[in-house]
Symmetry: C2
Subunit: 430 residues, 2 copies
Amino acid sequence: MSAPLRIGVAGLGTVGCGTIAILEGNREVLAARCRRALVVTAVSARSRSKPRPVPMDRYRWHDDPVALAHDPEVDVVLELIGGETGAAPAVIEAALQAGKPAVTANKALLAYEGARLARLAEGAGTDLAYEAAVAGGIPIVKALRDGLAGNRTTGVVGILNGTCNYILTTMRETGRAFEDVLKEAQELGYAEAEPSLDVDGHDAAHKLALLAAIAFGIEPALDAIHVEGIRQVQAVDIAYAEELGFRIKLLGIARATERGIELRLHPCMVPVATTLAGIDGVFNAVRVESDAAGSTLYVGRGAGAAPTGSAVVADLVDLARGFRAPPFGVPAAELAPPSVASMSEHIGAYYLRLTVDDRPGVLADIAACLRDEGVSVESMIQRHRATDQPVPIVMITHETREASLSRALDRIGHLDTVREPPRMLRIETV
Amino acid sequence: MSAPLRIGVAGLGTVGCGTIAILEGNREVLAARCRRALVVTAVSARSRSKPRPVPMDRYRWHDDPVALAHDPEVDVVLELIGGETGAAPAVIEAALQAGKPAVTANKALLAYEGARLARLAEGAGTDLAYEAAVAGGIPIVKALRDGLAGNRTTGVVGILNGTCNYILTTMRETGRAFEDVLKEAQELGYAEAEPSLDVDGHDAAHKLALLAAIAFGIEPALDAIHVEGIRQVQAVDIAYAEELGFRIKLLGIARATERGIELRLHPCMVPVATTLAGIDGVFNAVRVESDAAGSTLYVGRGAGAAPTGSAVVADLVDLARGFRAPPFGVPAAELAPPSVASMSEHIGAYYLRLTVDDRPGVLADIAACLRDEGVSVESMIQRHRATDQPVPIVMITHETREASLSRALDRIGHLDTVREPPRMLRIETV
């Protein structure tokens, strides 16, 4: 039995308290698995007096998280403060510079600063671990970096935000509108009062940047990701998807193509028979496509005190066992700048929904716009209504280049008989 | 860059050649990930002249795999020979006794001898790794042992044999009989000429023994597993399952109960809406239930040269990076003998199919047998037919003890009006 691993916890919110609860509750089995004790020795947060679900009086208290990182009774520092600036990077940098491993759940910080922090860790001969930053309780960082280490990855496709998946699932099950379901999710605590980080896709994009970095040995490239959230998904599109044999999911996709790596995060239509289509509610899922293992899929809870704490503790077990791997799978100095494929070059099938006047010649005009750009239609739903209200036309295209489709939609949107901006959703079949 | 890791491969069948193909094909990315080269230096097989998909002339040849284990130019030994006796254990023991790590895909050997070999490895200060022994390309050993190391596991449920899953899937899709589909699977190479290891559940039981050992910190306990294969699954049961909203899957289940650990491998009816029900064809899937992460699911290809080779190479990457964890998660000396719950104490719902004479009083007699044992019926399908042929009665019971159900079925089977032995399938809802 080696000496205990002494842990300092900076940030005592949901994840910090959830992590401490696991370390205390599973203390004995953890000691057996690591052949040494995992012991919390020091904690830090903004408010010492705030009520918390686990008692803190047995640990050394630091008002300053950087002081916690320098505490001689701390061997490894957990950064569970969050945020891309301020205390979070300060405490990680202090730990690494002191030669102490840092464990974090901070996806935003790593999506921006991951390559720099990985270099800092490697330069100091220590470690930076972040299993908890991606997909909560699913050990996907380890699966991709260690479990699939023999493979060349060709693609990663994930449902990476439980709030969005809950909203899309509830919209489908109830037929209700986005704003209505969002409001309920906020009341239930499934969505934040300020929902933009989730519903506009930023949180999922942070996670995609990290997965793509490991998968392809590239620097995390948040700015290179094409990001669209779910605000524009309408109940009527969900209903048409169902009718056409699809589900709408917010997917993060990183895929190697001849044109570079596609990095995109947007609502997709996926065939209802696929496993990803059946991942509902707050669950996350990641499918990895790789040359030897083929397609593998990982499903679990993407958030919450216990699932995220599970991931933090897994990193601590690695450190306690002396496991060392480069944070992004290869040494930070070897991470390549990403060669990103332009969205305009994306090739795929598309769902289109147009709102048009119900009179002769409308379809001919639309068909001409598509034909002129080389976009061919695989199937169409048009229902005549005996009213003078605008009517919907729904189409599924064959595979086409996005630039061609965009030009066609731009022309279609300017037709006199087209009453609303055309709606488009990308279809993801594999 | 450290010195290369020199690999000796004993056994040049499907998995051996698949592993070498990955090591050669992904040589550069592996060197980056490990910060050292992974180099095959020596190989061994029964026949040197047999044609193989990868050239062997660049490696040192050993007729005797034990001599390969002793080769001074071999740092780590891959045992890909298979079998519970003879060369396979001999080469692993030789490697471990020489202080060299052994990597194996040999689920049968480990299911019988895993605890002893783990003690041998730990005593020699070296490692025994076996990611490839369970569920092929799915990195489930690492997920359970490392990724979920913070958790107490409460249950593991898996589709662990691709041949059986392929046969059950094809039976459902085509309505054909077991023997017919098995024959086709043999012709297609999805099933062995001697299919017993797969279709009688032994192969899946080997894997379940290993998963349960990691999950619960117990010695692999093959003999303690209740094993039933899929030979008794009839097309008519698959059709009734479909009608009742279920799919039939061969599941391996290890679950902590108040009565001890349930260890069972048998066909189950699972609700069609669950993710496991949708895992079709040759795919494997493992669901882990644990206290912090909650329910997590892992899906992928369970066999084949490349997926299994992917798992072998992942173990080599671990070794090259210097990662060391106890083979079954805790030191071998701390593995507990399993405290196994008796099948007769199992509590669950059941599907029953009886073949009876179509005349008055039959149902009353059957109902009396069930009532006398305290078994209550949740739903029933009985269709009158205007013939003098025997007719089926299908029932779903409420939760009941298996001993009670067995007694009731024994009495029912002896009724004059019951024409065939009653058929029973356990329902697995969670």
